[in-house]
Symmetry: C2
Subunit: 402 residues, 2 copies
């Protein structure tokens, strides 16, 4: 059985994801689709709308055959770490290809970009440095340096101002740098924009647009047209039980409490909290009634929104720098769910997997896994405190079967 891998957050699963999976499966000529999915905290430093069990069901009911969890270490990391964790897991579970969505839509320009940057690495770094010293932000400097290098390149390269191109580039870079055998593929994204508002004339919207509509309009019905029925059913079942979807506003009283239990100095023990920001965090937390007030007080040119959100994620989960030493290598394959087809794949192939397959977390003391469990526990506590209901725990939940 041939497997194609995808890297996902499904926050929530929408029609664009459905399209991506079916395209990936057919273009890769694969029998099985394997998704490596973030758990309860996502790459932009946010808690997921709904728990990983509901999101796993969304995936399994819409064409994914196996869902494995991207460990907390990677799913809350910067783009390089995120990509390295995810692509290594897909290789470890035996995928011969992985497929990502991109604005670019064909793979050669990605490879050309990789070779261009590798060939001119020194020049590229010098250009970045040069732009940074003129006072331009780091991401902007990267972009300008790249544009300069790219001018004289004959081969077609990608536009790195497009968010999905950037993400895809990191996957390719990870696969190449780590010399993995897995082959990259890209599927053109159906344009919905990225941070766009939803467009009621379409059935495609970005996850960002869907989340925005959910929180602004407080109505699940508003977003029904953008998600497959099975995804909608999971969201409805979540809403019936918990009444509300999760974002940082939901958890704010407890995030605030977590921040204020520390001196500024103590805050620097938590992962990604860089020296200098700790005083602002405490000061802003004291004064803020909402997460948005808080963020508006701490954001600055120096710190991107995402970077700040990752800091507060680690403060909320209580995970320290020492615990989150950025491992470059996942140490297990955590199975969240499977279809019958996925199960058949496991039976046939698991002896060849490069990492141990974990179906029940009680069976191991792996420190990387302990962080995943902590993240689930803290997400669960937030849900319980804010909404008065419990979610399933890692210890008590066997892989979902569909």
């Amino acid at each position: 059985m041939k497997a194609v891998g995808v890297v996902v957050e499904y926050n929530p699963f929408h029609n664009g994801h459905f399209y991506h999976i079916s395209q990936s499966k057919s273009k890769a000529n694969a029998d099985v689709v394997i998704a490596v999915m973030s758990g309860h905290f996502l790459q932009r430093g946010e808690p997921a709308l709904l728990d990983k069990w509901h999101r796993t069901k969304m995936a399994l009911n819409n064409g994914v055959d196996l869902v494995i969890e991207l460990p907390y270490v990677f799913c809350t990391g910067h783009a390089t770490s995120f990509a390295e964790g995810a692509i290594q897991l897909l290789e470890a579970i035996g995928c011969t290809k992985f497929a990502f969505g991109s604005e670019e839509g064909s793979i050669d320009p990605f490879l050309n970009t990789f070779h261009l940057l590798k060939k001119h690495e020194e020049q590229y770094n010098a250009l970045i440095k040069q732009y940074v010293t003129t006072g331009i932000s780091y991401p902007q400097s990267l972009y300008k340096a790249y544009e300069e290098l790219r001018q004289n390149e004959e081969n077609q390269t990608i536009d790195l101002s497009q968010p999905n191109n950037i993400l895809g580039y990191h996957y390719i870079e990870a696969a190449k740098r780590l010399k993995l055998e897995i082959e990259p593929m890209t599927i053109p994204r159906i344009q919905a924009g990225f941070h766009d508002d939803i467009n009621t004339q379409s059935t495609i919207a970005s996850a960002t647009g869907i989340r925005k509509a959910l929180f602004e309009q407080h109505s699940l019905h508003e977003i029904k047209q953008f998600v497959p029925d099975e995804s909608y059913n999971q969201m409805e079942s979540w809403q019936n039980k918990y009444a509300s979807f999760i974002n940082w506003e939901t958890f704010w009283p407890y995030l605030r409490f977590s921040i204020l239990r520390n001196t500024p100095e103590q805050l620097t023990q938590f992962a990604d909290v860089s020296e200098g920001i700790e005083f602002a965090l405490v000061k802003a937390a004291k004064k803020s009634e909402t997460f948005s007030q808080f963020m508006n007080q701490i954001k600055s040119k120096r710190y991107t929104w995402t970077r700040l959100q990752r800091m507060v994620t680690h403060i909320y989960t209580g995970i320290t720098k020492e615990q989150l030493h950025y491992s470059k290598m996942p140490s297990y394959i955590r199975l969240l769910g499977m279809t019958k087809n996925g199960q058949a794949y496991l039976s046939q192939n698991k002896k060849q997997f490069q990492l141990p397959l974990i179906s029940r977390v009680a069976s191991t003391n792996d420190p990387m896994l302990q962080l995943d469990i902590r993240a689930t526990d803290m997400y669960a506590l937030g849900v319980e405190l804010a909404l008065g209901k419990q979610i399933a725990s890692d210890y008590q939940t066997p892989p979902i079967r569909v």
Copy 2:
């Protein structure tokens, strides 16, 4: 002006306290009564029923002229540390005498006990050790060793099975050991028992009895007869605003959250969390819906209820072993409130105080004071999360004037 000192928690201020103050003032022939009072967390490892500002007003309206705060380091410490902090503060602010309530009621037996134990210190320690090795608990061993020594003593000594005698003995021991000039006095307690239920035929009840009635009967009216009117008014004003008095049950969801943000190993960083208990704390917190369920799971012969409550106090406030190095010496006199009479005393005497007088916390960075501020912040956060209302902060509250 002559000042007499008292060591108090006023949780809440009741008729017995009123009696003690008036007796102390007249027997000491004093012009001024100075109370050193615990802040928001008390010696038995519990949050106070109502905040220190309300409790300060209770005191100032009932015969106390100056209320100063016992720093967190001491007020959450074991009896020796508590006593040393309190008596040193009373000496530092110029009290010539301090008065404590006791079952014994006269001072000589206390002094005789002190001299007896000092004289036979080695024998006493050997006896304690002997009893401990037979499997008797440490407090019981202390008591038995003392009883044995006391048998052959001609002078009258105190009964150390009585809780207020024990407390008083610690005050005297502190004053003697630290060679303070302040002189001890004792006022006989009006018997209410200690852990007794309230007796509706009387106007005297213990604070423990009053708290029990408050939480069990949910009616302030039930305890009206046991507290002075001005104390009742403060309680009524608290209840009108916050709807409920505070105990660990009120804060339990946030205490639980605080415990579960840590690995067992990380819990041992907090003050008083002794090695070995950390696993039980996490396990019990996971399973418990109430504080009482939690405590019933962790209590054992080895750990007294008070000791366990002190551990969770420090976990809740986030105060570490490193921060709470038991200082033997207070470094400031924190003024919480004063009457006109108290203010006159300050004007006349403050130049002779042995420690700096702090009226506004913003004026100093003393690390001991930072812990008091943290304790207030965490008490305030608990009140805000549980009851939806704010309390006064240390930074914004000048000393109360009555």
